[in-house]
């Protein structure tokens, strides 16, 4: 497969977010999800807030959710590691069904199509075990065939009143 086969169209992800009622984003921008950032920033129906650190992205999103908005949080894998305690607080103890979009920054192209656990890079091969170690569901998006997992992540988070993580293994396409 070519690398482009792993690039899920950002437009399709955007469509799923609309279907799920998402109308806000908090973010410390992610190197992987630029195409999705671009679309969501341009969407007049989405409140988009840049944050200085991932903890703040999570707590701002929790406040938005309580106030009636439907936010997602967009960070990269390093950012996810950076906010584990806040994720524990808002996404587990605080029972807030926030879906976190995390990009697999640093994933070597030779790992595409292979298990994340076989990546040579710690930030790639430990993300799923850390999230699952917290007891939170982890949905990896490798190809377009995985896109239905995004809706599943929202359904699961809302049913369980807990956070869920959607993990992008490669750059979404600018289409």
């Amino acid at each position: 497969m070519a690398n482009s086969d792993y690039a899920v169209p950002a437009s399709r992800v955007h469509d799923i977010l609309r279907d799920k009622g998402v109308n806000a984003v908090t973010t410390v921008p992610d190197f992987i999800q630029f195409a999705l950032h671009d679309r969501l920033r341009a969407d007049p129906d989405v409140t988009y807030v840049e944050c200085a650190a991932e903890n703040q992205a999570l707590t701002t999103a929790m406040g938005m959710y309580i106030g009636g908005l439907e936010p997602i949080i967009m960070v990269q894998n390093q950012g996810l590691f950076n906010c584990i305690n806040t994720l524990r607080s808002v996404g587990i103890d605080g029972q807030t069904p926030l879906v976190v979009f995390a990009g697999a920054f640093g994933r070597e192209f030779s790992n595409l199509g292979k298990p994340l656990a076989e990546s040579r890079r710690v930030m790639v091969n430990r993300t799923q075990p850390v999230v699952e170690g917290l007891g939170l569901p982890f949905y990896h998006i490798e190809t377009q065939d995985d896109l239905p997992k995004i809706a599943t992540a929202f359904d699961r988070a809302r049913a369980d009143k807990r956070a869920a993580v959607v993990h992008f293994g490669y750059y979404p396409a600018w289409t």
Partner: protein
């Protein structure tokens, strides 16, 4: 020239109206005692979270005043929150910093970093509409109505008396389960009160 947490929260209670209040650390204890309400949300156990919880509420509920009852050490943990609060510039937003210059106020009274930190200067540099340091109950009483009537975000640094700390004969407590469930419970109560429960 300073006040204690309870005196400050009594003035806030008097003027809060239908304000949403996020709170943390020693201010949490005081506001819970002085002004119990389903419109309170404790950031616990999550030191540092109150400021952006308040920001998120202000974005989603622009018609309501939002008050953040932050700690000095807590704000230092999430100092970047000043940047996004100033960017969003919620109009009806008052960010109180209960400055007692301590970590674990009333328990261990450990020093916090930043002996030379000026919270008001940092807030103004970030882009807050106003910032002031208040050292007495009377001054807070006089200032608060005007702050509620003018566009924010406003920073109010409160000079708080450091309480006596526990002695070595006083054992550290076993925290009750409530400490770990109240954030979720208060979130649910606030959502019921706002009509946003889902």
């Amino acid at each position: 020239m300073s006040m204690n947490n309870y005196e400050a929260c009594a003035v806030i209670h008097k003027h809060r109206g239908d304000a949403l209040i996020t709170n943390t650390m020693s201010a949490m204890m005081a506001i819970t005692a002085v002004s119990p309400s389903p419109l309170n949300l404790a950031s616990v156990p999550l030191m540092g979270g109150a400021s952006c919880l308040g920001l998120g509420l202000a974005i989603a509920q622009p018609g309501r005043p939002v008050m953040v009852l932050d700690g000095d050490s807590s704000l230092l943990l999430e100092l970047g929150s000043l940047a996004q609060i100033a960017d969003v510039a919620p109009a009806r937003f008052i960010h109180f910093v209960f400055n007692n210059r301590l970590q674990f106020s009333g328990v261990a009274n450990l020093d916090r970093p930043g002996r030379h930190v000026d919270f008001c200067a940092m807030a103004l540099a970030a882009g807050y509409a106003s910032a002031q340091k208040i050292g007495t109950v009377d001054a807070l009483e006089q200032s608060l109505p005007a702050l509620l009537d003018s566009d924010g975000p406003h920073m109010v640094e409160l000079e708080i008396i450091a309480p006596e700390k526990f002695t070595k004969q006083t054992p550290q407590i076993d925290f009750p389960d409530l400490q770990f469930t109240r954030m979720g419970a208060e979130k649910a109560a606030m959502m019921e009160a706002l009509g946003t429960a889902r």
